[in-house]
């Protein structure tokens, strides 16, 4: 299953050292190793979880990650803020 194609994932190959961390942490196999460097093979499978960017010690990946649930986005839209997750209330959180 694939979602909308507007993921904010960006890859800067010139900064990649080929450590392979991104291929280890991505749960959708967006990155693959090729010729000792990472390649962004399936950008459309990115879910913006942020694992790759967080674990890339060389700043070769950037992505806007955040709370992705609709309830949080709606609360944020209605309040005019960033997505707010209602985790503190009794409502079941993601």
């Amino acid at each position: 299953m694939k979602y909308l194609q507007n993921s904010t994932l960006k890859f800067f190959p010139e900064k990649c050292t080929g450590c392979g961390r991104c291929t280890e942490v991505c749960p959708h196999a967006v990155f693959e190793m090729s010729d000792k460097k990472a390649v962004m093979k399936h950008k459309d499978k990115c879910m913006e979880c942020g694992a790759c960017a967080k674990n890339c010690a060389f700043g070769a990946i950037s992505v806007n990650s955040g709370v992705g649930c609709a309830a949080a986005v709606i609360t944020g839209m209605l309040r005019g803020t960033e997505p707010v997750c209602g985790c503190d209330s009794s409502s079941g959180c993601c």
């Binding site: 507007n6 990115c46 979880c49 990650s65 986005v73």
Partner: protein, 383 residues
């Protein structure tokens, strides 16, 4: 509670005590022993004069029942494990350290997966939230990993300097930073705890398959109760609104006929919850479109167009009310379908924002318009 499994079998370093609380070493020492009082603690394990709780690796009937409760209701908010270091089996200073969240289900799946192994479990304080969600919010994160390594005493317990963090914890954990601050190298284990044995056996290597999160029919099914539940919480308000609208007459609100006249809408609300929060998630891969709002629009139309005709026959609704019926409940269905994005394993924030930017105003306008259509149809002519 029965202790079905007692992994500590002997050895001079280990001892099994009937009362875990009795493991505390002297009257002068005031230790919070809540960690030992948990149901799954089968005994204590002493290493370098420090006592650790031993976690059972077989899940009991009660554990499984807790999973059901957590999947269906607010029990999930209190399903916690005391953070700290736990022993599994008869671990040594060479045994692996597996990191987990302090959400009961996360921890239970891990200890079950470690059955027959000798290992350590380092439970982080993630405020009772599971690994992936906590990682997304950063509570399963670099700071807490560093903090818990220091607090738990794991540095003294093991000679090696590596910890195995679940792959889904990676959004919150900067592996390089953890190593810099603690000396512990972070190795990312498989997505699912059940693959841990194979991962370890393969020399701490996960296959490509183990690194990918799936979203099969069972995965989706177990998530639907927590989609239906919150939706149903708003049902009483919806029902009241329906009764008020259908009870409106030029003489005031008369509920006598409102129940009968409003019945299709009262039922429609229930159908919308089922269609949006259950049927759409279950049929997810088969419903066209990538957008969840559009998926919900399709399933909503598929259910409510035919339904509106049969309702119109039985309740003698006019075309205007029939139109309101389709509009309102298709919008509801789409709304509930979009809510499911929070539970999926493949949707992203930018997409949800984009969908809601156009969908949310449409939902609001549609709801208001539907109410107006019904009112106009019922009392408009009389005023």
């Amino acid at each position: 509670m029965d202790k079905q499994f007692q992994p500590v079998t002997g050895g001079n370093k280990s001892m099994l005590l009937k009362s875990p609380a009795a493991a505390c070493c002297g009257p002068a020492q005031k230790i919070d022993d809540s960690i030992f009082r948990q149901d799954f603690v089968t005994g204590t394990f002493i290493n370098e004069q420090v006592t650790f709780p031993v976690a059972a690796t077989l899940l009991t009937r009660k554990d499984r029942w807790n999973h059901v409760k957590a999947r269906t209701g607010s029990f999930r908010n209190n399903f916690t494990v005391v953070p700290g270091l736990y022993a599994v089996g008869n671990p040594s200073s060479n045994s692996d350290v597996f990191v987990s969240a302090n959400y009961g289900m996360s921890f239970n799946y891990l200890r079950e997966a470690l059955h027959g192994m000798n290992a350590w479990i380092l439970v982080l304080d993630t405020k009772g939230i599971n690994v992936w969600c906590a990682a997304g919010k950063g509570t399963f994160g670099t700071a807490e990993v560093v903090n818990r390594i220091r607090l738990s005493g794991v540095e003294k317990v093991v000679k090696h300097r590596k910890i195995i963090v679940p792959q889904l914890g990676a959004p919150g954990v900067d592996a390089a930073e953890v190593q810099k601050q603690t000396g512990f190298r972070v190795m990312y284990g498989p997505v699912l705890a059940k693959d841990i044995k194979a991962y370890v056996a393969a020399g701490y290597k996960a296959t490509g398959e183990m690194r990918i999160i799936k979203f099969g029919v069972i995965d989706r099914l177990v998530l639907t109760p927590m989609e239906i539940n919150p939706a149903m919480k708003k049902y009483p308000q919806f029902a009241l609104a329906v009764l008020v609208i259908f009870g409106l007459t030029p003489e005031g609100i008369i509920f006598k006929n409102a129940f009968y006249d409003g019945m299709p809408f009262l039922l429609g609300g229930l159908f919308a919850v089922l269609t949006g929060a259950f049927m759409t998630p279950m049929l997810l891969p088969f419903v066209p479109f990538r957008s969840f709002a559009l998926k919900g629009l399709l399933t909503g139309l598929a259910v409510f167009v035919p339904l509106s005709f049969s309702m119109a026959d039985v309740f003698q609704y006019s075309e205007l009310t029939q139109l309101a019926f389709v509009l309102l409940f298709t919008a509801f269905t789409s709304y509930f379908a979009v809510q499911f994005t929070g539970a999926t394993t493949f949707t992203h924030l930018s997409g949800v924002k984009k969908e809601l930017k156009y969908a949310l105003p449409i939902y609001i306008v549609t709801a208001v318009l539907s109410a107006f259509l019904i009112l106009y149809d019922r009392v408009g002519g009389m005023i």
